[in-house]
Amino acid sequence: MSSLKYEDRALKIVGTRPLRPDGVDRVTGRARYGADYNLPGQLIGKVLRSPHAHARIKSIDTSLAAALPGVKAIVTRDDFADMPDDFAAAGEMMINYRDVTRNMMAREKVLYDGHPLAAVAAVSDAIACQALKLIRVDYEILPHVIDVVAAMRPDAPLLNEELYTEGVKPRPTRPSNIAKRFAFVRGDVDAGFAQAEVIVEREFNTKPVHQGYIEPQACLASYAEDGQVELWTSTQGHFVIRSQCAKVLQMDVSKLRVTPTEIGGGFGGKNNIYNEPLAIILSKKTHRPVKMVMTREEVFRATGPTSGGNVKVKLGATRDGRITAAVAELNFQAGAFPGSPVGSASMCAFTRYDLENVAVVGNDVVVNRPKVAAYRAPGAPIAAFGVESAIDEMAKKLGMDPIELRLMNAAKEGTQTYYGPKLGKIGYVETLQAARAHPHYSAPLGPNQGRGVATGFWFNVGGETTCALNVNEDGTVALLLGTLEVSGGSYASLAMIVAEELGIALERVRPHSGDTSSLGYNFVTAGSRSVFASGMACVVAARAAIDELRNRVAKIREVPLEAVQWKDGQAQPAAGSAQQFAAMTLAEIAALASKTGGPIAGHAEINAQGAGPGFGAHIVDVEVDRETGAVKVLRYTAVQDVGRAIHPAYVEGQMQGGAAQGIGWALNEEYVYGADGILQNPGFLDYRMPVASDLPRIDTVIVEVPNPRHPYGVRGCGEVPIIAPMAAIANAVSAAIGVRLCEQPLSPPRVLQAIVAAAKG
């Protein structure tokens, strides 16, 4: 079973706001994160990283480093197998193991500042760092390119002389930094523009930004003499990490047991391997555990940010507000290896709107920067920055309210998307109506203040998911989950679903994660899938347990199975049944389980289908200081259709968190590279993320249009809220100063420059 239909029924626990059962450890420091794990005799591993943006590796001499007292092993490219092209799904996009193994440890070339070249295991951090300085690498420095538009030019320095653009016919004869081209077409855009009475055409640019998780990557590997490996790591996907490590190390999956540690944020950035294979092989060579914890600088230099992008948008509309044509070109940086989220960005760029004539082209472009990783609705915020800014400009040109323009063209159930299928039951109109009705939307504004609106769409996903539910001998329930607690409150929500199904108090259900040996495969905890997919699995497992409970009571009470129903946490006589018997509670049945057939459990192994897309509408008020260009966010409201909020407070937390990240993306965050291709701001001091004092309280409105393909109507909610903020803030700044900024971030120097330029006329 991979999909369960929505059941509209009265609920007792789902929809309430109980305290989360796993909160105490997190607020008391008791929770154990990756860096908190230690084993006797462990060594410390450190990575040598490229100081160049692009260079051929002529030789690596580790002899001096190996001779340093306290150094126990060194690994380079020679310790890892080369891999051919081999594609697999992981995180937000396909990965190619040929590229994975090269990102993990450079082979022919280094392709970005920070690219790993070698790793050392030593008895202390200090000795390991000292050893890195003794490794001699002979580089042939090559020209580099870090700008996406520059990288697309025919004369750009090539990162990979064997890379030919896919998706182009005929197949190109010359290599290129454009790895892949996507194209989506519906109708006739030329005819659509011919009908238009008003045109908006703009070009936008965004920079790569990091997910900004507060916990750097950390892992601990222990390789036993018989080839069995234990790995503890901070990850969003312990099964995917197991798969990727086993693949690149050419070992049986069953020999590697991965334990996910508590995670201090991921947001998509912890779906991939980085140091894990290095730690495993260092452990193999030294016969000792090896622990590797990244510094913040390493996180910035070498783990995936999301793409920077160049976005061109053109819209045409009639004077009454009907959009007749929409075109976009999205050029995304993939970093050093192909695989930006330009494909998904291309598909969601215009999906909020019911359009007959659409053409979107997306280019995946390699540049000399770290390989991008997923970041919350990968690609969608970049596309939305362009499209939602253009929609705002169109509304102004038409003299229309921006929400009214969107309502007039809104996608609804049955709207044909330009990438293929019709949309099912969705809540975009309801979301827009709720935003329009919110008091924020009509609140007065003062001087130098402006209001902006923008909307977002994300597909959400399901995927492979397992769980196991065991009834303990006292009638409490142990719930073993395969998705991880990467977002605030998913485990509480899943426990609520099980408590609701079983009809017992929430306090009687205890959720846990396990290692990769304890359950079947689970896809990464990403894609807004955990409460959707694990929720569905929990329902399947709970109902299987209920079947066994009924079966057990039928035997105990000596009645036919059909005479037993499960209701309010008890096995009771079925309504209308002639067979009467004394009801039994879960605890009573559990107490007899060992003598009546053994432990009672339910489990689920599914590939959850039917994820319902989500829509969000954000309203923001800003005030611009015309002397400095500083933008202050005065008020922020996030409205979103979540299908069904299992625990409303945690859904609100997702909406606020996504909005906060989007605000940082809009106003300050960017990777700053010098002309030499070296990252200049690999730290939180100069990579400026918002802190609590930067933001007002973010108000939230939950809209519930149930997803018909989930028993509780759940739609994923974690990713949608990051999509709209960049455009909403750009629209607000435009309203405040009368100038539209098309380059992110809208940092003070950039805003001031626009103000000055406008004043000069």
Binding site: S2, F87, A88, A89, A90, G91, E92, M93, M94, F182, Q211, F267, G268, G269, N271, T306, G343, S344, M347, A373, A374, Y375, R376, A377, P378, Y419, G420, P421, K422, L423, G424, W458, F459, N460, V461, G462, G463, E464, V524, A526, G527, S528, R529, N607, Q609, G610, A611, R709, G716, E719
Partner: protein
């Protein structure tokens, strides 16, 4: 690009498309999501396709 095929499930669909359009074959199993009469499926080779179903193929989605 559209066509008609006589298939009963997604696996047969991919086989048929791979035979008709060989350049697609390498991508179908790993990179493609399928919408059958508006409902989206990913990694669902055994999902039934009924007579007269409308099927769309598009890039897979995951997330962050």
């Amino acid at each position: 690009m559209g066509c008609e095929l006589a298939v009963a499930n997604v696996r047969q669909l991919f086989q048929g498309l791979g035979e008709r359009y060989p350049e697609l074959a390498a991508h179908l199993d790993t990179e493609v999501a399928v919408a059958i009469d508006g409902e989206i499926y990913q990694d669902a080779l055994l999902q039934a396709i009924l007579n007269d179903s409308e099927v769309f193929l598009f890039p897979k989605i995951a997330g962050g």
